[in-house]
C-alpha cells in the first residue's frame, strides 16, 4: 500500500493495491448489495443481487486503479511545477465577483424570461430559500466555526411563529416577519447560553439534540402546532395590502394594476420576495463580516484562546453568531410558511438540517457565492429525475467527506481580507 515518493509503482503493485480495495468492497458489499430482504406476503425472503455486487466490486477495482494513476500523475506534475495555480488570488476574487453579479442578474430577469412557466419560478423560489438558509448557517458554521446540526429548529420556529400568529391572531406577513425573526433569535440565545461554553464537538451533538427536541414538541403539542397534521391554510402574503385573488376592483393586485388575474402573479411576487430577503441577508452578512463582530467571529474560529487573551468575551461573540444565524433561519421559515400555506413537523427533520449544512460545506465555508452554487446543485439534482432524487443525499454525504479530505475550506474558499493597509480604495463593495 505504501507508495514511495518519486518512484512510480509497478503495474503489479498497482493491481495488488486495487485488488485489496476490491476485496474490502466485496466484504462491504455482500451484506448490503449482494443480499437483501424483500417483503413477500407479510414475511421476509432473502433476495440476491450478485451481478450488481460484481459490477460494484469491478468498479471499485477500476476506480482505485485509475484514481491512483491520476493522483500519481498530479503529484508528479506538482513536483515539476511547484507553485502553479490556475488564477492569481486577486483574479479569482474578481471572477467570483463577476459571477456573483451575473447570478444576481439572472435571478432578477428569470421571472420575465419564464413568466408563463410556473414550474421554473417555483423551483427557483425553492433554490432561493436554501440560499438564504445557507447564508444564515454560514454565519454560524463558516464564519464563527461552530458546528450547528440543529439549524432547522430555528427555521421551524420562524415558520410556526408565522403560522400561529397569522391563523390564530390574524397577523399579516410583514407584522409577523420581525417578530418571528426575533423569536428565532431568542431561541438561538436560549440554546446558546448554556451550551456555547462546550467544546466544538459537544456543541454539535447538543444542537442535534435541540433540533430533535423542537421537532418532538411540535409533533406532540397539538394545541399549539396541530401535532403531526400541522397547520393548514396559512394566509399568503399580500402585495402591500393588495391580495392576489381574482376580481376587478382596485382592492386586488390584478385589479389595482389593471392586469388580468393570473395565479402566476403571486408566484412571481413570492419569488421576488425571497430574492429580496436573500439579498438583504447577503448584504447584512457581508457587512457584518467587515465589522468588529464579524472579525471576532473569524478570529474565534481561528483561535479561541488567543481571542480570550485579547480580552474578547468569547461567549458573547458565539452567542451573537448563534442568534444572528437563528434569526436569519427564522426569517426564511416565515417565508416558507407563507409560501406553502401549510406546514407540519415533516418539513423540519434532521435531514433538512443536514441538507443546509451540506450546502454550506460544499459551497465552501464562509463563501457566499459557493452557497448559491451548492443550493442550485442540490435543488436541481433531484429535478433531473427520480434516480437523482434517490441518490441525492448519498451523493451529498460522499461529497462532504471528499471535500473535507481534499479542500477542508470548501471548493470556493478564497478568504478576502476585511481591510487592507495599502490600496484601501480597492476594497470590494
Amino acid at each position: 500500500m505504501v507508495v514511495l515518493a518519486h518512484q512510480a509503482p509497478s503495474v503489479a503493485q498497482r493491481c495488488k493495491d486495487a485488488g485489496a480495495v476490491a476485496a474490502i468492497a466485496l466484504l462491504l458489499g455482500i451484506p448490503m448489495l449482494g443480499l437483501t430482504t424483500v417483503d413477500q406476503g407479510g414475511s421476509l425472503l432473502v433476495a440476491t443481487r450478485w451481478p450488481t455486487l460484481a459490477i460494484f466490486v469491478a468498479l471499485c477495482f477500476a476506480g482505485r486503479l485509475l484514481a491512483r494513476y491520476a493522483i500519481d500523475a498530479l503529484q508528479a506534475r506538482a513536483r515539476r511545477r511547484p507553485a502553479a495555480t490556475l488564477l492569481r488570488p486577486g483574479a479569482r476574487h474578481q471572477l467570483s465577483l463577476w459571477l456573483g453579479w451575473g447570478c444576481f442578474g439572472v435571478a432578477l430577469a428569470l421571472p420575465f424570461v419564464f413568466s408563463d412557466n410556473r414550474y421554473i419560478v417555483d423551483t427557483a423560489t425553492t433554490v432561493l430559500i436554501y440560499v438564504m438558509l445557507g447564508w444564515g448557517l454560514n454565519v454560524v458554521v463558516g464564519l464563527a466555526g461552530l458546528l450547528d446540526l440543529g439549524y432547522v429548529a430555528f427555521y421551524a420556529v420562524g415558520a410556526y411563529a408565522y403560522a400561529v400568529l397569522s391563523t390564530q391572531f390574524g397577523w399579516g406577513f410583514w407584522q409577523a416577519l420581525p417578530v418571528a425573526g426575533g423569536l428565532a433569535a431568542s431561541f438561538g440565545l436560549l440554546l446558546g447560553w448554556p451550551t456555547l461554553r462546550l467544546r466544538g464537538d459537544y456543541l454539535a451533538i447538543v444542537t442535534l439534540g435541540f433540533g430533535e427536541i423542537v421537532r418532538i414538541i411540535l409533533v406532540n403539542w397539538t394545541a399549539l402546532s396541530g401535532g403531526p397534521n400541522g397547520i393548514a391554510s396559512i394566509p399568503r402574503p399580500s402585495f402591500f395590502g393588495l391580495p392576489f385573488k381574482p376580481g376587478d376592483d382596485s382592492a386586488t393586485f390584478a385589479g389595482f394594476f389593471g392586469l388580468d388575474f393570473s395565479p402566476l402573479h403571486r408566484l412571481i411576487f413570492l419569488y421576488y420576495l425571497i430574492l429580496a430577503l436573500a439579498m438583504l441577508t447577503n448584504l447584512f452578512v457581508s457587512r457584518l463580516r467587515r465589522l468588529p463582530i464579524g472579525r471576532a467571529w473569524e478570529a474565534m474560529r481561528e483561535d479561541e484562546i488567543a481571542c480570550k487573551a485579547m480580552g474578547m468575551n468569547v461567549t458573547n461573540v458565539k452567542l451573537s453568531a448563534f442568534a444572528i444565524g437563528a434569526m436569519l433561519g427564522g426569517l426564511a421559515g416565515v417565508f416558507f410558511a407563507a409560501r406553502q400555506g401549510f406546514i407540519s413537523p415533516e418539513s423540519f427533520t434532521f435531514n433538512e438540517s443536514a441538507i443546509i449544512l451540506a450546502i454550506v460545506v460544499l459551497g465552501g465555508m464562509g463563501s457566499q457565492l459557493g452557497v448559491v452554487l451548492a443550493s442550485l446543485v442540490l435543488v436541481l439534482l433531484p429535478e433531473l429525475g427520480r434516480d437523482f432524487a434517490e441518490y441525492r443525499m448519498l451523493l451529498f454525504g460522499t461529497a462532504m467527506i471528499l471535500i473535507m479530505i481534499w479542500r477542508p475550506g470548501g471548493i470556493l474558499s478564497q478568504r478576502q481580507p476585511t481591510l487592507r493597509h495599502r490600496a484601501e480604495a480597492g476594497a470590494a463593495p
Binding site: F284, R287, L288, L291, P292, I293, R295, A296, E298, A299, E302, D303, I305, A306, C307, K308, A309, M310, G311, M312, N313, V314, R415, P417, T418, L419, R420, H421, R422
Partner: protein, 288 residues
C-alpha cells in the same frame, strides 16, 4: 500618590496550583514593578507557563492571591477574573509559548481584532457599523493607525497585508507581540518571546522591550530560556524549580546563586560528571 508609586503593579501572594496530585506551583510570591522587566526562569517543567496561566485567568489557582494595582480601577483580584477580563479590565496581556495568531487573517486584521472591545463599543453592537456612521468610521480609522504604529515599531509594516499564517516563525512571534501591544497593556506577559529568533532579531527584541519599559512605563513579565535576553535586559529575576521559587534578585545575584546553578546543572556530585565541563553554565548559555 507617592505611596501608590512605591506599591508594586502586581503582587502575587502564596500562589498554589495543583493538578490532582501534582503541585505545579507551590507557594509562589512575587512582586512586579511598573517600568521594570521581571524575568521568570527555570528548567523545563518548572511551572513557568502554568504561572502565566494562573495570572491571566486561564487556570483558576488552587489558592493564593494575585492583586493588580490598577491606576484607574484600583486593586483588582486577577485570580477571580476570567481570562478575557484579565486582558480587558486589568490590562494584563500575554503571548503564548507556541505562537497563537489568527493564521488565516492578515497581520493587520490580527491587530484590529486585538482592539475588539473598543471597536465593538464604537460600532454600538454593530448598529452604528451597519449604518456606517461617522463616529464608528473614525474609531476604526484610529484603530488602524494604532495597528500601523505597532507594526512600524516591530518592523512588520511591509507585511501588514500578508496572511499571518504564511509568515516565518520569527516574524509570527513579533506579530504576536505587536498584537498584544494593541490591547493597550499595563503589564505584558511574554512567554518565550525570543524562541526561534535569530541573534539579530533577538537583539532587536531586547531594544524594543527596553524602550517599552523605559519610554512608556509598561511592566513586562518574561519567561525566557535565552540567557542573553534575560541577563541583558531584566531588572529582576525570579527562578522557579519544581513550582517553588528558589531564588530572586538582580541578574548578577542570580548568576552567582548556588541554588540556581544546582537547579540548572543538577546535584554537584559524582553522578553528574557529564556536566563538569560546563561548570559556568549560565555564562555558557548566555553566549549561545
Amino acid at each position: 500618590m507617592s505611596a501608590a508609586d512605591n506599591a508594586p503593579l502586581l503582587r502575587v501572594e502564596n500562589l498554589c496550583m495543583r493538578f490532582g496530585g501534582l503541585t505545579a506551583i507551590d507557594d509562589l510570591s512575587l512582586d512586579v514593578q511598573a517600568g521594570q522587566i521581571t524575568a521568570v526562569i527555570g528548567p523545563n517543567g518548572a511551572g513557568k507557563t502554568t504561572f502565566f496561566n494562573c495570572l491571566t485567568g486561564f487556570y483558576r489557582p488552587t489558592s493564593g492571591r494575585v492583586r493588580l494595582n490598577h491606576p484607574q480601577r484600583g486593586e483588582l483580584h486577577l485570580e477571580a477574573l476570567d481570562s478575557h477580563q484579565v486582558a480587558s479590565r486589568a490590562q494584563v496581556v500575554r503571548t503564548f509559548q507556541n505562537v497563537r495568531l489568527f493564521p488565516k487573517m492578515t497581520v493587520l486584521e490580527n491587530l484590529i481584532v486585538a482592539q475588539h472591545n473598543r471597536l465593538q463599543r464604537a460600532s454600538f453592537f454593530s448598529l452604528a457599523g451597519l449604518l456606517g456612521l461617522p463616529g464608528y468610521r473614525r474609531t476604526e480609522q484610529a484603530a488602524i493607525e494604532i495597528a500601523v504604529d505597532r507594526l512600524t515599531r516591530l518592523n512588520l509594516i511591509d507585511r501588514a497585508d500578508a496572511v499571518a499564517g504564511d509568515l516565518p516563525y520569527g516574524m509570527q512571534r513579533r506579530i504576536e507581540i505587536a498584537r498584544a501591544l494593541c490591547v493597550d497593556p499595563l503589564l505584558l506577559c511574554l512567554d518565550e518571546p525570543a524562541a526561534g529568533l535569530n541573534p539579530r532579531e533577538s537583539a532587536e527584541l531586547n531594544e524594543l522591550l527596553q524602550s517599552l519599559v523605559q519610554g512608556e512605563g509598561l511592566a513586562i513579565l518574561l519567561i525566557e530560556h535565552d540567557m542573553s535576553v534575560v541577563m541583558n535586559i531584566s531588572d529582576h529575576i525570579c527562578v522557579l524549580n519544581y513550582g517553588c521559587k528558589i531564588a530572586e534578585g538582580s541578574p548578577l545575584q542570580i548568576q552567582n546563586d548556588p541554588q540556581v546553578i544546582k537547579a540548572y546543572l543538577g546535584e554537584d556530585d559524582e553522578d553528574d560528571d557529564d556536566f563538569d565541563g560546563v561548570e559556568p553554565a549560565l555564562a555558557t548559555e548566555s553566549e549561545s
